[in-house]
């Protein structure tokens, strides 16, 4: 990742235009050509410097639900359990964390009822109890990071 990549990341974590040629418009603001911006985004996605480029949806605003949940997974079963949990499309993110609760994931479903169904599926597949931590109140969210 070089200075141009950093400039792209810092400038484009939001505000991508909705117009006929948005890459050209965004590229001009960065002093790049459209082709160069597209090539750099492709390369950063391929290298997993970016996990995605596009709209970030808030499923709650669509009547759906996001819930943070955790499992206490025995070490010997960790890889198998991760595969079982990740197999569900409702699992948006999943992280290993160092704690007795050592697998933390976010469920994203189109309806609130979908959360209970996803939890039941995970408990059925893994034989482990899912601890759900639905947000009671959001105080602050800022997902931009400085590159």
């Amino acid at each position: 990742m070089d200075e141009v990549d950093r400039a792209i990341i810092n400038a484009l974590q939001g505000g991508f235009p909705i117009c006929d040629e948005p890459y050209r418009e965004a590229a001009e603001r960065l002093g790049l050509t459209e082709a160069a911006l597209i090539a750099r985004l492709e390369a950063m996605l391929a290298a997993n410097t970016l996990t995605r480029f596009g709209p970030m949806y808030q499923i709650e605003r669509m009547g759906g639900a996001f819930v943070l949940a955790a499992l206490a997974v025995p070490e010997a079963d960790y890889e198998r359990t991760a595969e079982q949990v990740n197999a569900l499309p409702e699992v948006a993110h999943n992280y290993r964390r160092e704690h007795a609760l050592n697998m933390w994931f976010v469920l994203a479903t189109e309806t609130p009822a979908g959360i209970a169904a996803a939890i039941a599926k995970i408990e059925g597949a893994t034989g482990l109890k899912v601890h759900a931590f639905p947000k009671l109140k959001e105080y602050f969210v800022e997902m931009r990071l400085h590159a």
């Binding site: 990742m1 484009l12 974590q13 939001g14 505000g15 991508f16 909705i18 006929d20 040629e21 948005p22 890459y23 597209i38 985004l41 492709e42 996605l45 410097t49 970016l50 996990t51 995605r52 480029f53 596009g54 709209p55 970030m56 949806y57 808030q58 499923i59 605003r61 669509m62 943070l68 206490a72 949990v85 990740n86 699992v91 948006a92 993110h93 999943n94 992280y95 290993r96 964390r97 160092e98 704690h99 007795a100 609760l101 933390w104 994931f105 994203a108 601890h131 931590f133 639905p134 947000k135 009671l136 109140k137 105080y139 602050f140 969210v141 800022e142 997902m143 990071l145 400085h146 590159a147």
Partner: protein, 172 residues
Amino acid sequence: MPDVMTSSGRESPARPDALDRRLIVATQGGLPLVPRPYHALAERLGLSAEEVKARLARLLETDVIRRIGAVPNHYALGYVANGMSVWDVPDERVDALGEAVGRLPFVTHCYHRPRALPLWPYNLFAMVHGKSRAEVEAQAEQIAALLGADCRAHDVLYSSRILKKTGLRIGN
């Protein structure tokens, strides 16, 4: 979708309709990396580019879309210490404390969540990111100082592996 907007243009956010949903399914993995991405989507969905742009603009306006752009991988940017700091504070104080912790410049997410006793006594969650664990620990100390005697217990859970990071995926 029937248009019931008044001339002022203000309205309560509408639930996405079936066409919005198709647009969401088509873009949740990302935008096409071509010079005219909204035209490409329009072609795929059998819509006009004008309709695609208008619908995306409306989803953005109503916060169904939080933002459009790049989603960086924390680790790739050098944020290798990603800590979920968790705090046990009195329930009657959690809102005031949560607002204060959320205002700290290094906190990226801050939520009130339920406890799961006896395993989990924490009711305030604050995500902090640093280039090293020492940096995250210093940030956690600042949170502890802000909470003062209201902090009865705390922990910082570092992510040691990304097992999955696809984001939202609703079905077709």
